[in-house]
Symmetry: C2
Subunit: 218 residues, 2 copies
């Protein structure tokens, strides 16, 4: 499935780095743990880190229902949600061709408050499952009171685009003869040993689902 | 040194998470490899991942001099630069108290083109040194032609604030009795084994400065 780029999401610089297929877009959104949400108030942009969760053609955001940002979004302010995965440092032979390998997605649109209870609970479940798959079934489920104080918003993926850089450095032709190491240093997010809550009873161990998640990211 | 929060940077939600001292702000800016830059064009915000480098009271950005974003910034459009470091997953006993530990900085202001050649070159050097300290001295320095095609912009840190979450989950009082593991899974960016450029001569090894950098992040 390919989202046709709108006039706003079509890349103008380095169009070869653009990707508009939903498979690429979804994979980046699903891997990123943190998103950056932009809104403008009186022409001043604000960019705020936030958690997100994709379900199908929708990205959900959540936050305190009374916050200034959520109120602005609920009133229909245009928004931009961007996620970026840093994959590596690109070391070139000349200073200016140093770069990073990355995968990013930009979603333009409006963030609409989710009022349907079933959709809200499904979204909250996805937020949890993104942190550690299977976790939702192991913890206390959200109460109605919990759901009331948490604002859930949805953004459509209709206007989404991906941009990425992969591969080795690209140096100027004459620089390839230089006696300088060049290449890529891969980067990844690594999970460390879990730190128990000081108030945790000493006989409670991390669940099998947590242990399995940790093994994948050790 | 403490930056007094302006009406715009003062935190309205959870003010206890706010930090305004420059030592905290500088450390977060210097550790983050990628920033998210927001500008608004005709009310539509755009959030773009970008590299940044702090020198004293200034954050530098760079990019292709002809890009739409750099041209908008150079014309005085208000900007917001945000960096976020993800430090851990916070696993609570109830679904809704799951969270992440993070450190973020938001800088509001205008990004001003740097026209002074000395300042431009110093900024470009800092971009490099942030990737791998000492690297600038090992590669071909920027030529005048390189410097011409690279736009360098500066943002003042006068209106900057930090926000962070640390420590264990905070559960509702009655949930502490639940038989659920709770705590923090620390996250960090890990560097993998360097991948040589396929065009690299086989006898060129990574420099001692690269090896030292890698050891700190292995």
């Amino acid at each position: 499935m390919t989202v046709p780029p709108s006039e706003r999401t079509r890349l103008r610089r380095k169009p070869a780095r653009g990707a508009y297929d939903r498979e690429t877009i979804d994979a980046i959104l699903d891997e990123a743990l943190v998103a950056h949400l932009g809104i403008a108030i009186d022409g001043q942009p604000y960019v705020i880190p936030t958690l997100h969760a994709r379900v199908g053609d929708t990205v959900y955001l959540h936050g305190s229902a009374g916050s200034r940002t959520l109120r602005a979004l609920a009133s229909g302010t245009p928004a931009c949600l961007t996620v970026t995965l840093l994959d590596g440092l690109v070391l070139a032979r000349s200073a200016l061709h140093h770069s990073v390998n990355y995968r990013s997605v930009v979603v333009l649109g409006q963030a609409v408050p989710v009022t349907d209870t079933h959709e809200r609970l499904a979204a909250l479940r996805t937020f949890m499952e993104r942190i550690v798959p299977g976790r939702f079934g192991e913890v206390r489920a959200p109460s109605e009171a919990d759901a009331r104080v948490t604002g859930v918003l949805s953004m459509s993926l209709a206007e989404a685009s991906a941009k990425l850089r992969t591969g080795p450095p690209l140096d100027d032709a004459q620089d390839y003869a230089l006696d300088v190491w060049a290449g890529v240093i891969p980067l990844r997010m690594q999970a460390g040993a879990p730190i128990p809550d000081p108030r945790l009873a000493p006989d409670i161990e991390p669940s099998a689902k947590i242990e399995s998640w940790l093994r994948e990211r050790a």
